[in-house]
Amino acid sequence: MQRGWSMKVTTIEELNKIKERGFLNLYPQEKMRISIGTATCGKISGGDDVFNAARMYVENSGIKADVIETGCIGFCQEEPIVSVTKPNGVIIFYSKVTPEDALKIISLSIEGKVFKEKLLGKITEEDFIIAGESRRTEENKFSQDEKEAPLLSQHPFYKKQIKIVLRNCGFINPDSIEEYIARGGYFTAMKVILEGWEPERVIQEIINSGLRGRGGGGFPTGKKWKSCREAKGYPKYVICNADEGDPGAYMDRSVLEGDPHSVIEGMIIGAFAIGANHGYIYVRHEYPLAVKRFANAVAQAREMGFLGKNIFGKNFDFDIKIAKGGGAFVCGESTALMASLEGNVGEPRAKFIHTVESGVWDKPSNLNNVETWANVPVIIDRGADWFKKIGTKGSTGTKVFSLVGKVKRTGLVEVPMGITLREMIFDIGGGSSTNKKFKAIQTGGPSGGAIPVLENGKSGNGSLIDLPVDFDRLTEVGSMMGSGGMIVMDEETCMVDVARYFTNFLVDESCGKCTTCREGLRHAAGKLNAICEGKGKKEHIEILKDLAEVIAEASLCALGGTAPNPLLSTLKYFPEEYDEHINEKVCRALVCKALITYSIDENKCTACRICEKECPSGAISGGKNVIHKIDPQKCIKCNVCFDVCKYGAVIVSSGKYSRRCEHTKTNLKPIKERVS
């Protein structure tokens, strides 16, 4: 813990002094700085072990180096990511580092060498997004290895990214307020308050920037602030929505774990503009590390006088309390979140009266998402005109997506709005990870839809691969931005099964307050389950369409209003799959268990007995030198035989579609050839 000051910071000069101190932490002159990614994605890949090994090694060997924890730099699949900042200013990133690798990296770094096996890239110059400042290095001070290392910014995963929200994630120690300040943090909030900006000027800047709510709805942020400022009633509240619940989306968590101060600074500016003295962050209980790091950041900000009474020595009070959510998806909805915050059951209410007029405890309340808040300091510092140049006309700025699924490179990517799906999955994602044809991209989680991207890279033929990604275009095609989940699916994904999965998710996560959402979704899920089980009937499609309409039109909140999207988008773009499931009882993706059968190709079986041994239901008969057979009565379709067979003998089929397991081993000949 880096404490030790008791002074409240009230002048730019004082803040500059802290900045210098933080800068020395970030870029030490006499020693190395070794940062290990220990956000949740880093931890689950073994980041803690790497951190401990590196720290022990440095302590025991007396090497001059700081070993610190940092957040996620986005490339989650490559975690644990370790970066080494050298006294000459170069930062070298390594991926998938094991504890043993870490020791090698440290010892090689001292010699000016680079551990090429795990090298990801280097950073030699940085443009700090805030204050327009930058940092340059002198290449003549680099070693040969360092000169040769490729630039991280040229890595295909990073090349098209613009980091505004994730500006500090993976670079600073999230537990150090000094390092946040070193990269321009808190200067904007201080400027606004010390220079005595009119709150209206702040709001106008946000309105001009065109910033829209990043939580999914896409409501203009400035307009919301304006309504809340003008609303009658006191006290007013500003709230940060960190109840991130979409399956596959985790950008809020990453920001809170990697750069919590950016959210705090955004909230200070927002509270000042709106005229609020109380702030809340509603964060998932399931994000313990995010809660811990945010709580620590709040404590540090209080110590420096950025939160609490008389912020920056001026006549403005603001503080933030942390409220933990109990794990309900619906509590990400604004009114349900506020109900939960009050201590009531997290159920939404109708928004005929907006929350900016009557929200928490019936007082004016302004709720924005983590990502929205993190954008605020940058917009105020750089100005609306600068921000507007990024993105599209209707959707300015950047958006953080969590790119997951069947692409080679997965992780958190921050890209300008308007980037095409093609750029997302081919340039950033690197194309298919399985060499299969892409089928669809699911955006927006359970409230979004599946967008077809048929064939590899071909446009036309119903494919929307060249669709620019922004709020309006996604809504037009029947999906939505949501919180930015982006799941890439290939031909091994059954679209009926996707609709079934998301609809069942919503059946569980609906609060159950209104009839249409609770009962409508229950019946829709029932029909979808039946279709996947091969019990689908022709009339089910009409019933599903009717249900979708009534759920969307007559439900109380946005959860119900958007709940039919997975169903409707798959019905719209992949009707042939529904047809096949219902009329032919066939699943072309070979996913729906009731519609597929497993068999063994007698011309390929080597009688190796592995599948026979591994089959958990004893469905495979065979023996030494006897062709193996699967008893369909006993088979539970667990896919184990398919996975363990190395001779291409197991076939899974459904109607005219079939797939054969991979043929990787050739040391045994098929038993048929051997016996005869």
Partner: protein, 254 residues
């Protein structure tokens, strides 16, 4: 009514006057329009769960389907009742309600009144539609909060906290009175009152005249705090009649 509190809006083109802050359904019912509703009661806050009181309300350039029970009336509001869209969605809502609570005769009769006699959806068990009227009456009117929802989504159910008899329950039966589907039933057997849905069992207090059971002790305590005539609280209906008849006969009706 002061002028600044007055709001004029139109329903199917006819102008209607009401007070600022009133909910649309309240005004519509007062004006004599027949709108189906199950989760609404004038004595509690609207909850908007049953989704039957749908109307079309102007919003932006067009009209949007909305529930009327929780929709505040605003100046210049245009309301359309029983449009084609509303009728279609309402039919669907009735159908899922019947599927959810097929055992409720009261619900079936109500739906039949609105022209819905059967459901295309898979019938489940039960007679509760989770409208929450009992919960609100118990909390807002009685002040007992003896009833609660448990679970979420498809697993949501109406019960008592921890599914045992609530210590705050007074056995008054207000919940059963407002229940639109007769899901909550009150059984008086001898000097025992049972409300199975609330896991509640009470002893009944005898009539001070004839000794027949009247109501629960807790209920009497509650009634004593209200403005209701105290003298006849512990009297059964039969004896009340006799007592009033005696008073009229002996003292005259003036």
């Amino acid at each position: 009514m002061q002028d600044k509190d007055k709001i004029i809006f139109t329903v199917n083109g006819t102008e209607i006057e009401c007070k600022k802050g009133e909910m649309l359904l309240t005004v519509l019912l007062r004006e004599g329009f027949d709108i189906p509703h199950l989760c609404y009661h004038e004595s509690v806050t609207p909850y908007a769960s049953c989704r039957l009181c749908l109307v079309e309300v102007n919003r932006g350039n067009g009209f949007r389907i909305a529930t009327s029970c929780n929709h505040p009336v605003f100046e210049g509001m245009e309301v359309k009742l029983n449009t084609e869209g509303v009728a279609e969605e309402r039919k669907n809502v009735f159908e899922v309600l019947i599927a959810q609570a097929p055992e409720s005769e009261k619900l079936r009769l109500y739906a039949a009144k609105w022209g819905v006699r059967e459901t295309t959806y898979r019938i489940q068990e039960g007679d509760c539609i989770l409208c929450g009227l009992c919960e609100r009456v118990c909390r807002e009117v009685i002040g007992a909060s003896a009833i609660t929802f448990a679970g979420r989504g498809a697993n949501k159910e109406l019960t008592t906290p921890y599914k045992v008899q609530s210590s705050s329950c007074i056995g008054c039966g207000a919940c059963a009175y407002v229940c639109p589907t007769d899901s909550i039933k009150v059984f008086d057997k001898g000097f025992i009152r049972e409300i199975p849905k609330l896991h509640a069992k009470f002893e009944l207090v005898p009539c001070r005249i004839c000794g027949k059971p009247v109501t629960t002790k807790e209920h009497l305590e509650f009634l004593k705090k209200t403005k209701i005539e105290k003298a006849t609280l512990e009297t059964c209906d039969e004896c009340k009649k006799k007592e009033y008849a005696f008073l009229v006969a002996s003292q005259g009706h003036m």
